[in-house]
């Protein structure tokens, strides 16, 4: 073996190193030892929810995703709550999981009763053919799950930044889009408002590997987003690298008085970004 290795030309050694690192990546990213197992979820579930039972969630929520990930870095996911956030019972969290991604938990959305409606839209990275699932926990402590299968994008799309320099240069900029409130179920109730928070951030994954380039890109992503209004946290998001660059979330809320809606965003390097907007909806049909 050593003879053969000595005889190898330098470039072959370089390619061996590259292959070594690729394999290192493959082994490192495997969700568990002996992870040839097809059913990643079976492995993952106990880590996230212990042995708690998870019920079919189709009475509580629906998940929409394109059948095929058009761009691996930018896959829109829409979770629709099928029941309002009532005082009796409501969705208090939604965990969004992409089974085959290097970091399967894309985000955990913690919702309040004052969210009005637990519907959430966001954008994620999808690395490979994968189930994408949303697990809702209701206030009474029951878990409900819905899922969709998403085919991977083609061979020339990767879950990486489009314009790396631009996303670093504008990091932390935020924008809120406020949509026209939907009418309340009855005249006595407050209408449910809908808004979209957009955050400039590369949300980059430390898994992006050095080839023979000498490049190493450390993980740097948004890990906490808190959206508050009228003294109440309406939505708290634990984020991770499977959220797209420039993370965005579309959500609902029932205004608690006329105070500003504020967002506080923190990333893994400890950067904190804050912004606030008045709640009067800028009309947008």
């Amino acid at each position: 073996m050593s003879e053969a290795m000595i005889a190898m030309p330098v470039r072959l050694w370089r390619s061996c190193l590259a292959i070594g690192f690729l394999m290192l990546a493959a082994v490192a990213l495997a969700p568990a030892p002996l992870s040839a197992a097809e059913d990643v979820w079976t492995d993952l579930k106990p880590d996230l929810f212990d042995e708690r039972p998870i019920k079919d969630g189709s009475q509580w929520l629906a998940i929409e995703a394109p059948y095929r990930a058009h761009d691996a870095a930018l896959v829109p996911i829409k979770i629709t709550a099928l029941k309002p956030q009532s005082v009796d019972n409501y969705i208090k969290s939604i965990t969004l999981v992409i089974d085959k991604n290097p970091a399967p938990v894309a985000a955990v959305f913690h919702l309040a009763q004052e969210s009005g409606l637990a519907s959430i839209s966001t954008r994620v990275r999808v690395n490979a053919y994968s189930d994408v699932r949303a697990i809702a926990e209701t206030a009474d402590g029951t878990l409900y799950m819905v899922s969709r299968f998403v085919k991977a994008s083609g061979g020339c799309s990767a879950p990486a930044q489009k314009d790396f320099d631009e996303s670093i240069a504008s990091m932390g900029r935020m924008k809120l889009r406020h949509y026209t409130p939907r009418p309340a179920a009855d005249a006595a109730s407050t209408p449910v408002h809908e808004a979209q928070l957009m955050i400039r951030h590369p949300n980059t994954s430390g898994l992006q590997m050095n080839q023979v380039t000498g490049y190493y890109i450390p993980a740097h992503f948004v890990d906490e987003i808190a959206i508050r209004q009228g003294g109440k946290t309406l939505l708290f998001i634990e984020g991770a690298i499977s959220l797209s660059e420039d993370p965005t979330v579309r959500f609902h809320f029932v205004p608690q008085g006329t105070g500003d809606l504020s967002a506080r965003v923190e990333d893994t390097e400890g950067n904190v970004y804050e912004a606030a907007w008045p709640v009067e909806p800028a009309a947008m049909n």
């Binding site: 058009h70 829409k78 799309s157 990486a160 430390g206 080839q211």
Partner: protein
């Protein structure tokens, strides 16, 4: 070299010493049993598998890509790639979609000239333009790319290899590896081939954030890489607005003809860019309208630029992707 770190948001993702050992041991085994040269023997110089190229101007040769996605059957030969032969040296411009494809291109070069292959220029990061690089390593050329290319390949290379192995099969990509540029271009550079000089320009974000063009002074031929598509639907993997701005700059280049990244091997310049300009403008206009009325990305990708459907090949493969990228960009306006 062992700077592999990952701050895992999920506790399962960690690197254990045994897995490092297994990975490195496997890599040695793989290297010993599948040397690079094997794929080159099978598809390269010395046999009939030589790329068919057309001389579109004196000394300027282009291998036409098929308008398709990369498959085992087409060996990834879907982009227009080629070479320019000077009186002293040869420059290769893009290397094709696999080591096999690259070695066929190399065979076409060697059928015409024994001059040294001194430069391999990659117009951008996409697999159909860089996967053939390995076929030229033995020639010891200077690999030239945009100053962002190495970073882009570091971020995407492993995924590109893995995703395309899934699609094309490992055999079709035997010997294919990611090779980063040794000469990064930021300000324009010139390279001399004898009898002609190539002007190489790195552009701001457009098709990707690492697009490069090559202008052959002798024949006034502009190699655009994927900054210009014809027939094959343009693919946005950078910035929609940025690309429109780069196109305005490219149109001012006094070229007689251009070699687009996909479509015919030679088109009159700047007329050849008109179809792409129209498509991108329609896409921008449609997306702005959808965003203004509060529609979601999900809704937008189903309808944006639908009026262009019959004017392009591979519309279903790429239009929704373009709409996703454009939507995310334009909603910040």
């Amino acid at each position: 070299m062992n700077t592999f770190h990952y701050t895992a948001p999920n506790k399962r993702m960690r690197l254990s010493a045994p897995s490092v050992f297994i990975a490195l041991a496997l890599s040695v085994v793989v290297c010993l049993h599948a040397p690079l040269s094997r794929s080159q023997e099978r598809c390269g110089a010395g046999n009939a598998l030589e790329a068919s190229v057309e001389e579109i101007a004196s000394g300027v040769y282009v291998r036409a890509g098929v308008t398709a996605t990369m498959t085992a059957d087409n060996a990834g030969a879907i982009a227009n790639v080629g070479f320019i032969i000077g009186t002293e040296a040869i420059a290769v411009i893009d290397t094709g979609g696999s080591a096999c494809d690259g070695s066929r291109l190399r065979a076409a070069i060697r059928a015409r000239s024994q001059l040294p292959i001194k430069f391999v220029i990659n117009t951008h990061m996409h697999p159909d333009h860089v996967f053939g690089n390995a076929a030229f390593v033995a020639d010891g050329p200077t690999f030239i790319g945009h100053h962002n290319l190495a970073r882009a390949l570091a971020a995407r290379g492993a995924h590109y290899l893995e995703a395309n192995r899934d699609i094309m099969g490992a055999a079709a990509l035997a010997g294919t590896e990611i090779i980063a540029p040794g000469l990064p271009v930021e300000d324009p550079i010139e390279i001399a081939l004898g009898g002609t000089t190539l002007e190489i320009v790195a552009h701001p974000t457009g098709h990707t954030d690492n697009d490069l063009t090559v202008f052959d002074r002798r024949t006034r031929t502009l190699w655009t890489g994927d900054l210009v598509f014809l027939e094959h639907l343009p693919v946005v993997d950078g910035s929609l607005k940025g690309w429109l701005a780069v196109m305005d700059a490219l149109k001012k280049i006094p070229a007689l003809r251009a070699v687009p990244g996909h479509g015919p091997v030679s088109v009159p310049w700047p007329r050849g860019v008109a179809d792409q300009e129209r498509y991108l403008a329609v896409l921008v206009e449609d997306l702005r309208g959808l965003i203004a009325t509060g529609r979601s990305m999900n809704d937008a990708i189903a309808v944006a630029a639908e009026s262009e459907r019959d004017k392009w090949l591979l519309f279903d493969e790429f239009n929704a992707r373009n709409a996703s990228v454009g939507f995310a960009e334009l909603e910040w306006e």
